[in-house]
Every structure is written in structure tokens, then in C-alpha cells.
């Protein structure tokens, strides 16, 4: 199973509206992605909390439909 990069981005932005999302299809197979999510809303959150926010945005797809997502979260500089 796989997900389109645009769908991943849309889910993240729907939950974290100010997020800047950059997605790279690592293997070109629509199944292994790297995502960088930058949002002011991450300020004051631990790395774990930031990543949980993104996983929550993906609504349970992570580890299921979406097999591999290398995730980097950051606060705008």
C-alpha cells in the first residue's frame, strides 16, 4: 500500500495549518518518504511531542498505510 506525497502534506497542513511541509519520495515507490515539518506551534514542545503532533495529523496511517516516513520537525528560525 502507498500514499501520495500530496495526500500526506494535505493531512499535515489540515491539522497544523501554519506548517511548512517538504516531502521527498526517497525510493520513488510512493512508500518511503522523508518529511520536514516546520511550524511555530512546535515551540516549547519536546521532539517527541512535535513528532506525535505530526503522527496525530496522519490519523493512524503511520505504521499502517504509510510504512516509512523519516520525520524531521523544527521551529521556524
Amino acid at each position: 500500500m502507498a500514499m501520495a506525497a500530496a495526500d500526506i502534506e494535505a493531512l499535515i497542513v489540515a491539522a497544523i495549518p501554519d506548517a511548512t511541509v517538504e516531502i521527498t519520495d526517497l525510493a520513488g515507490d510512493g512508500d518511503h518518504y522523508a518529511a520536514t515539518v516546520i511550524s511555530e506551534s512546535f515551540r516549547g514542545m519536546s521532539r517527541i511531542a512535535q513528532q506525535r503532533a505530526v503522527y496525530a495529523a496522519l490519523g493512524g496511517r503511520m505504521g499502517g498505510v504509510l510504512h516509512a516516513l523519516q520525520l524531521t520537525t523544527a521551529i521556524p528560525t
Binding site: R47, I48, Q51, R52, Y55, G60, M62, G63, G64, A68, Q70, L71, T72
Partner: protein, 110 residues
């Protein structure tokens, strides 16, 4: 009411200073993310207990709820959930993982 699988996991993470829940074994990781997590710990010279979730379906499912984290690998240090391989890599690159493991007495100071 204690979930028996959560009780098992709790027992594992409290019995070892560093525990890595992974797919495969340190010698034969079955996933790139698990492989990366092992490489980081080995680079830091940190002894760790590994749990192959592919050999234990109960733990494979249970760990996700226990940690409130949807993916494998997962790292625990002194019973505390630290994160997955992306967080391990960020902490490693920032020197934070080495500092934490040193502060916790897991690896010796240089």
C-alpha cells in the same frame, strides 16, 4: 487493571538501562530505521538490550500503545521513552544522546 502486555514491556524497560525495540536483531536488522538506530548506539559504544518485535507479535502491537508511538524502532533509556530513529539521529548529531547516556552512567566519559 493492568494490561499484561504493558506489564511485560514495563518489566523489560525497567530491567535494562538501554532497551531498543526493533525489527530484527542488531546483527541482522530487518528495516533501515532499526539498522540506523543500532548503528547510532554502537557508534556511541552504548551497551543495549534489543527486543525483536518481529518475533513477538504481542509486544509489536503493545509497544505502540505503551509508548503512544506508532512506529518501530523505539528507544528507552532508564525506563524513559526517548523516541524513534529520527529523534535518535537528531540527538546524536546534536551531541545530546552522548551527553544523556553519559549522564545516566551508560557510557563512560571521554
Amino acid at each position: 487493571m493492568t494490561d499484561p502486555v504493558h506489564a511485560r514491556i514495563s518489566d523489560i524497560v525497567s530491567s535494562h538501562d538501554v532497551v531498543l525495540f526493533m525489527k530484527g536483531t542488531p546483527l541482522f536488522p530487518q528495516c533501515g530505521f532499526s539498522s540506523r538506530a543500532v548503528a547510532i548506539l554502537e557508534r556511541l559504544g552504548a551497551p543495549f538490550e534489543s527486543v525483536d518485535v518481529l518475533q513477538d507479535q504481542e509486544i509489536r502491537q503493545g509497544i505502540k500503545g505503551f509508548s503512544d508511538w506508532p512506529t518501530i524502532p523505539q528507544l528507552y533509556v532508564k525506563g524513559e521513552f526517548l523516541g524513534g530513529s529520527d529523534i535518535m539521529m537528531e540527538m546524536y548529531e546534536a551531541g545530546e544522546l552522548q551527553k544523556l547516556l553519559t549522564d545516566e552512567g551508560v557510557i563512560a566519559t571521554n
